[in-house]
């Protein structure tokens, strides 16, 4: 700073560093503040609208803002970033196809998955495009309606996982101390239980309904999200912007939900989306072992019931297996794309 700034508000300083003021002499380029996506660098501002004449010397003029940035709403920004990522886009399309197929498919195909339609072990042909299973049920009908159970178990179990994990992780990470020690011991206790075994025990005790299978999977897999959330909260609570929110008088719940959580979300969303795929797989495993809901067709159930005949009738296992694979792949790719798009720092 030069010494002539001392005390004397030098009018020259304002002019020199005020490209905004200079911009006023130029013909207005934009249509005005309402021009939504207008990328023009010289945003016209009337002098009469400027409440602090002297304070407005302004090197960071709107020209310094990326035109794509401030003019866009959050949703457009998110969409633009998400659509830019080929893997995420492919994942989203794949997931959408899977979801549409299992939502609309059973109605369109119109075959009861439990109905015996022809002889057992019929190879795929025009009658039964994916063949028939060991009792002569249509595999395609099974794959279509089984997907409803598999995908909804995946979704709801992952939601349960996220709710439990976020709650425990954020409380432990934010408050620290005794609370942290206690909650992390609980988390470790659950973590040393083998997921599949734990879910099997719960299903065995409480009965193999679709609801119980979902809850068991949720209870058996929230620990990763909890630990990840805790780590993010511990890292973020020391950051300057959290301290500045504290000095602005934010309450603990507001700090946790509004300030810290959105910053912690990207890795947690990835983990939670991964949990969807994990839950789909776990549901498949439970059904494979005969612990799924026997009254609901699911991909795991088809594979489990036909597992002894896989060498002779590959189609009984390959088609539901492929459905599981494609769903998991779609969800994983989507979660990766979400990670890139939800994080403005990566832009």
């Amino acid at each position: 700073m030069s010494p002539n700034l001392h005390r004397v508000p030098d009018p020259k300083v304002g002019v020199e560093v005020d490209p905004l003021g200079a911009g006023l002499e130029a013909p207005p380029l934009g249509a005005g503040p309402e021009a939504g996506g207008d990328p023009s660098p010289g945003m016209p501002v009337n002098r009469s609208q400027r409440p602090l004449e002297r304070g407005l010397a302004f090197p960071g003029t709107p020209g310094a803002i990326k035109p794509s940035g401030a003019s866009q709403s959050r949703y457009r920004r998110f969409l633009r970033l998400f659509l830019k990522n080929p893997a995420g886009l492919a994942g989203a399309i794949l997931t959408a196809i899977m979801v549409l197929t299992v939502t609309l498919g059973p109605g369109l195909y119109g075959v009861d998955p439990f109905e015996i339609v022809s002889a057992p072990f019929m190879a795929p042909d025009s009658e039964t495009p994916m063949g028939t299973d060991y009792v002569g049920r249509d595999i395609l009908a099974g794959v279509l309606s089984g997907g409803r159970a598999s995908l909804s178990v995946g979704l709801f179990a992952a939601m349960l996982t996220a709710v439990i994990g976020l709650t425990i992780g954020s409380v432990a990470g934010y408050f620290g101390g005794f609370m942290d020690t206690f909650l992390m011991k609980v988390t470790e206790f659950f973590q040393v239980l083998p997921n599949l075994l734990f879910a099997m025990v719960l299903v065995t005790i409480f009965g193999p309904t679709l609801f119980m299978v979902t809850v068991s999977i949720g209870l058996a897999s929230w620990m990763n999200v909890a630990r990840l959330t805790r780590a993010e909260f511990m890292r973020l609570k020391e950051m300057d912007f959290v301290r500045s929110a504290v000095t602005a008088g934010a309450t603990a719940p507001r700090l946790m939900l509004a300030t810290i959580l959105p910053n912690a979300l990207p890795p947690i969303i990835v983990a939670a989306a991964f949990d969807i795929s994990f839950a789909i797989l776990l549901e498949g495993s439970l059904s494979f072992l005969g612990l799924g809901d026997p009254n609901r067709m699911s991909w795991g159930l088809i594979i489990g019931q036909n597992k002894n005949y896989v060498l002779d009738a590959w189609w009984t296992v390959v088609f539901p297996g492929a459905a599981i694979f494609l769903s998991v792949l779609g969800v994983c790719l989507t979660s990766d794309g979400l990670n890139d798009a939800l994080n403005p720092r990566l832009e």
Partner: protein, 330 residues
């Protein structure tokens, strides 16, 4: 008085030992007044500020003294009450505008958070209020900036947003902790200008924490010089900057480049910068007597044994130095 700090002593505990970090500090700021707290790093400036905000880090505590904000003694308030005061009665502007804003929240939302935390206005009016505030600190096109993210802003714009956040709930006191240190020289002047304008309009009291004497001279009407946790000199800004009485304050002035205070710049340009040899002793190594005696050219035996008290001189100027006591300057 908006803020008055009386005989504040803050201690830091390491294991079973405790060290005073700030000793016997008294400050006061009236409505519309600005006090600059100057000193080297490690002098206790930030700890003083955090103790006023009630946000001392773990291991630090107020050992004695009191802090009064607008007639209410806040140093003994429970945490929950203090939370309600922060932002609404007093707020803080940080040094690093680059990291002090939430990177994933639109800046308008961040300002809105402050209003929501204190239930300042009905939810329906929050957005309009925020846009008005953004306009007030000179952000062009505030409607659009409401949805902008911090990474789209330059340092100066971010610091303006920080000012908005600090101002949103109309506090009486703003503590500005090195508000311009991370900014370019021209932007520094603008932010100081902005603070002065806001102060004039709203009658804010500002506690400016800085080691930049020029910033102090531009904004403050009084300056308090802190050394190793003790206030060694205080007085009107011009008086302290042109006629420093304490050897440490003089050392600070001499170590500033080109600070010629209105007299054409030649003599200041030509000389080599002086430095104060040594560094601030950390709290654990401070001994009796004047903390500055180890670095002071005019130190005597008395300086090593006794703590000099703050003696008032003419014109509201006071100094804590035996040398300055005896005959004008030491």
């Amino acid at each position: 008085m908006v803020l008055s700090v009386e005989n504040l002593t803050v201690v830091s505990s390491q294991g079973k030992r405790t060290f005073p970090v700030v000793e016997d500090l008294s400050l006061s700021i009236g409505r519309g007044g600005t006090l600059a707290l100057v000193g080297e790093s490690g002098c206790g400036k930030t700890v003083s500020a955090l103790s006023i905000m009630g946000l001392l880090p773990p291991g630090f505590s107020i050992a004695s003294g009191s802090i009064t904000l607008g007639g209410e003694k806040i140093s003994s308030l429970p945490k929950s009450k203090l939370r309600g005061l922060r932002g609404r009665r007093m707020s803080m502007i940080f040094q690093e505008p680059m990291t002090a804003l939430n990177p994933v929240m639109a800046i308008g939302k961040q300002v809105a958070e402050v209003l929501k935390s204190h239930r300042i206005c009905p939810p329906g009016q929050i957005k309009g209020r925020v846009v008005d505030l953004l306009a007030e600190v000179g952000l062009p096109d505030p409607e659009r900036q409401y949805w902008a993210y911090p990474h789209e802003f330059s340092g100066g714009m971010r610091q303006r947003v920080m000012c908005v956040m600090a101002l949103a709930a109309s506090p009486d006191l703003i503590i500005a902790d090195e508000p311009t240190t991370a900014l370019d020289a021209t932007v520094q002047a603008q932010i100081l200008d902005l603070l002065r304008d806001l102060q004039a309009k709203r009658g804010l009291a500002i506690l400016l924490i800085t080691h930049n004497l020029l910033a102090a001279s531009l904004l403050a009407d009084r300056v308090a010089v802190l050394y190793a946790g003790r206030k060694v000199e205080e007085g009107p800004t011009d008086e302290v900057l042109t006629n420093p009485l304490h050897p440490y304050a003089r050392g600070l002035m001499d170590s500033q480049p080109k600070l010629t205070l209105g007299q054409g710049g030649t003599q200041g340009m030509a000389r080599r910068l002086k430095i104060i040899a040594g560094q601030v002793p950390p709290p654990s190594q401070r001994q009796g007597g004047c903390h500055f005696h180890g670095r002071c050219e005019a130190s005597t035996d008395k300086c090593q044994k006794e703590i000099p008290t703050l003696i008032a001189r003419s014109g509201g100027h006071s100094v804590a130095c035996f040398g300055a006591e005896e005959g004008g300057k030491a």
